[in-house]
Amino acid sequence: MKILVALKRVADPDNANKVKIPASGEKIDTTGLEWKPNPFDEYALEAALRLTENGTQPKVRAGEVVVVTFGPKETETTLRAALATGADKAIRVDAADDKLDGDLVARALKALVEKEKPDVVLMGKQAVDGDSNQVGQILAELLDWPMATFAATIREEAGALLVGREVDGGVSTLRVKLPAVVTVDLRIVAPTSVYSTKTPATHKYNDGVRFAALPAIMAAKKKPLVEVKLADLAPDQALKVSYHGFAAPPARKAGIKVKDVSELVSKLKNEAKVL
C-alpha cells in the first residue's frame, strides 16, 4: 500500500495564547513561537506507518509512505523529522502560507495524487492554527474519491479500509474501497486503533506517536526530499477565501476564589443568578 500524508507545520499549539495581534489588526504575529508539526498530521503519519508494517518485531515494512508539505524552505525541517520517523520520501511544495487557502492546497494535492498515485491519502482532520477542517473533504470531492473523515480506528481489508469515525452522538463505521481519503481524529494513535492486514489482531501499539531513533535521524538525511513548484501543480493560484484583518478575543474579567462549597453555592445563587 502506498500512502500520501499531508503534513503542515504550525506555530506551537500549546502556546497559542501567546500569538499577538498588532493594533492595526493586519496580521497574526507568531514570532517567538516554535514551529511544530500539526499534531493531527503527526497522528496521520503514525497511522500511515502502522498501515505499512506488520506491527510486531522484527518490524517489516509493507508499503510506502510519502509525506508532503506546502511551505517555505524552512519547512524541510518538519519533513526531515517525518523521514526520520519512518516515512520513505518527502515532497515540499514551495509556497508561502499567506498565498494559500484550503481550496488551493486541495487542488495542488489533487495534482500530486495524480502523479504519485497513492492508494490512500491520510491527513489531519484540521490544522490547529487555521482550525478550518476542510482540505481532506475538498480533495476527496475534487478526486471523486470516497472519504472517511474524523477517523478514530482503521482496519485494512483487501482493497479497502474499515474506518470508525467519531461523529456527534457516537461512532459511525464506513468501509471505503481504495483509493480513498481519510482524515484522522485524536484517538487514531491509541494502542489498538490501526491494523494493517499484516498486523496480528492481538498486537498493541504504544499509546501515541513513535519517536525517531538517533540512527534513523542520520539515515533520514539520505532519504529523498524533492521540491516541487506550486505553479506546476496548480497553475491558477487565485484564493477563494481572503482575510482582511485579525482581532484578539475579548478578555474574560478576572474571577475570584471562593473558600468553600457554601460560599460557591451562595455566589451562584445570589450573585451570578444561575441556579
Binding site: D103, V128, Q134, E141, V167, P249, L275
Partner: protein
C-alpha cells in the same frame, strides 16, 4: 441571485436543533444581501422533518427524500445539495460533525470558497464578511469569500437558535440528484449510538465537565451533580482518551464547542485546547486541588479543593439552595 440556502440537519425524521443556528445566520445574511432564504431538508424522514421547519420565515422549504439517503454519506448527499445550491448566493449549515463532513465537499462541487465554523456574520455595505476563530480561539480572522457562490458553516454556540415567529413557507419536493461516482466505493456499515437522556452538550444551559482526575469514578461523581442541575456532561480530552467518558463528550478546540450559562470544570487543568471549547460560557466554575491550575485564569468562581470530597457536598448545597 441574492438568496441564502440553509442545509438542514435531519435525524430520525426530526429537524436537529443545529439547523436553528444556521437559520439565524440566514436571516441576517439574506437581509444584508437583499434576498430571501430557503431551507433544504434532505435525508431519511425529510418530509416529516420539513413540518418542523415551518414558521421561520423561509421563502421555501425544499424536501429531498430517497431510499438511498437512509444513512448519511457525503458522497450521496453532496451532489443534490450542490445542485440545489447552484441557484443561491450563500449555502450555509452548522459546523456539527454532519456540516463539517458535508459542506466542504459541496463547496468543492460548486467551485466555491468555504468559510468554516464562523462566529459572526458582518454586514459590510451589501457584502458579507465572516469572523472566524483561529489558533484555538486566541485570534479571530475577518474573512470574505471571493467566489460567486459562498459556502459557510456556523458555530452553533455563537448563533442563538432561531425561534419560529414567521408565517408558513411553501413546501416543494426536489428530486434526488443521484450519488457521485465516489459513492460506489463507500459503504455505510454501522452507527454505534451513545444513548443519553441528558440534554445535548451544545444546547444545554448548564454543562458539568470532568477531567483526568476523575478516573473510573467519572460517572459516579458527576452524574448526581448533572442530575440536580439538569445539565449535560462534558469531558476533557484526557478523560476521553482514558475511556472514562465517551469521545462524543469531549469539549475543546477539536471536540465540541459549548457556551452555556453555567460551566463546571472539575479536575480539569485548563489546557489551551480545552479552554477553546468553553471560554465563551457565561459563568465558569472550576474545582481543582492545584491553586495554580490555568483553569482558574478563566474561572469566575474557583474552588481549590479535592473534588471527591467537594462534589457530593456541592450536590447537597445546590439541592438545598433550589429548595
Amino acid at each position: 441571485m441574492a438568496d441564502v440556502l440553509v442545509v438542514a440537519e435531519v435525524a430520525e425524521g426530526k429537524l436537529k436543533k443545529t439547523t436553528h443556528s444556521a437559520i439565524t445566520f440566514a436571516q441576517k445574511a439574506a437581509a444584508t444581501i437583499g434576498g430571501t432564504f430557503s431551507l433544504l431538508v434532505i435525508g431519511d424522514g425529510a418530509g416529516k422533518a420539513a413540518a418542523e421547519a415551518q414558521g421561520f420565515g423561509a421563502a421555501k422549504i425544499l424536501v429531498v427524500e430517497d431510499a438511498s439517503l437512509k444513512n448519511y454519506l457525503a458522497e450521496r448527499y453532496a451532489p443534490t445539495v450542490a445542485a440545489v445550491g447552484k441557484g443561491y448566493a450563500v449555502v450555509v449549515g452548522t459546523a456539527s460533525a454532519y456540516g463539517k463532513d458535508l459542506l466542504p465537499r459541496v463547496a468543492a462541487r460548486l467551485g466555491a470558497g468555504y468559510a468554516s465554523d464562523i462566529t459572526e456574520v458582518i454586514a459590510d455595505g451589501g457584502k458579507l464578511k465572516y469572523k472566524r476563530p483561529m489558533f484555538a480561539g486566541n485570534a479571530f480572522g475577518i474573512s470574505s469569500i471571493t467566489t460567486p457562490i459562498q459556502v459557510v458553516s456556523v458555530r452553533q454556540s455563537a448563533f442563538a437558535a432561531a425561534e419560529p415567529t414567521g408565517g408558513p413557507s411553501a413546501v416543494e419536493t426536489v428530486a434526488y440528484a443521484g450519488p457521485s461516482k465516489a459513492a460506489e466505493r463507500v459503504e455505510f456499515v454501522s452507527f454505534d449510538q451513545v444513548k443519553s437522556a441528558r440534554p445535548e452538550l451544545t444546547e444545554a444551559r448548564v454543562v458539568v465537565s470532568g477531567g483526568r482526575a476523575l478516573k473510573e469514578k467519572f460517572n459516579q461523581v458527576l452524574d448526581p451533580l448533572a442530575d440536580v442541575l439538569g445539565a449535560a456532561v462534558g469531558a476533557s480530552r484526557a478523560a476521553c482518551d482514558a475511556g472514562y467518558a465517551p469521545s462524543d463528550l469531549q469539549v475543546g478546540q477539536t471536540g465540541k464547542i459549548v457556551a452555556p450559562q453555567l460551566y463546571f470544570a472539575i479536575g480539569i487543568s485548563g489546557a489551551i485546547q480545552h479552554l477553546a471549547g468553553m471560554k465563551g460560557s457565561k459563568v465558569i466554575v472550576a474545582i481543582n486541588k492545584d491553586a495554580d491550575a490555568p483553569i482558574f485564569q478563566v474561572a469566575d468562581y474557583g474552588l481549590v479543593a479535592d473534588l471527591f470530597a467537594t462534589v457530593p457536598e456541592l450536590v447537597k448545597g445546590i439541592q438545598a439552595a433550589k429548595g
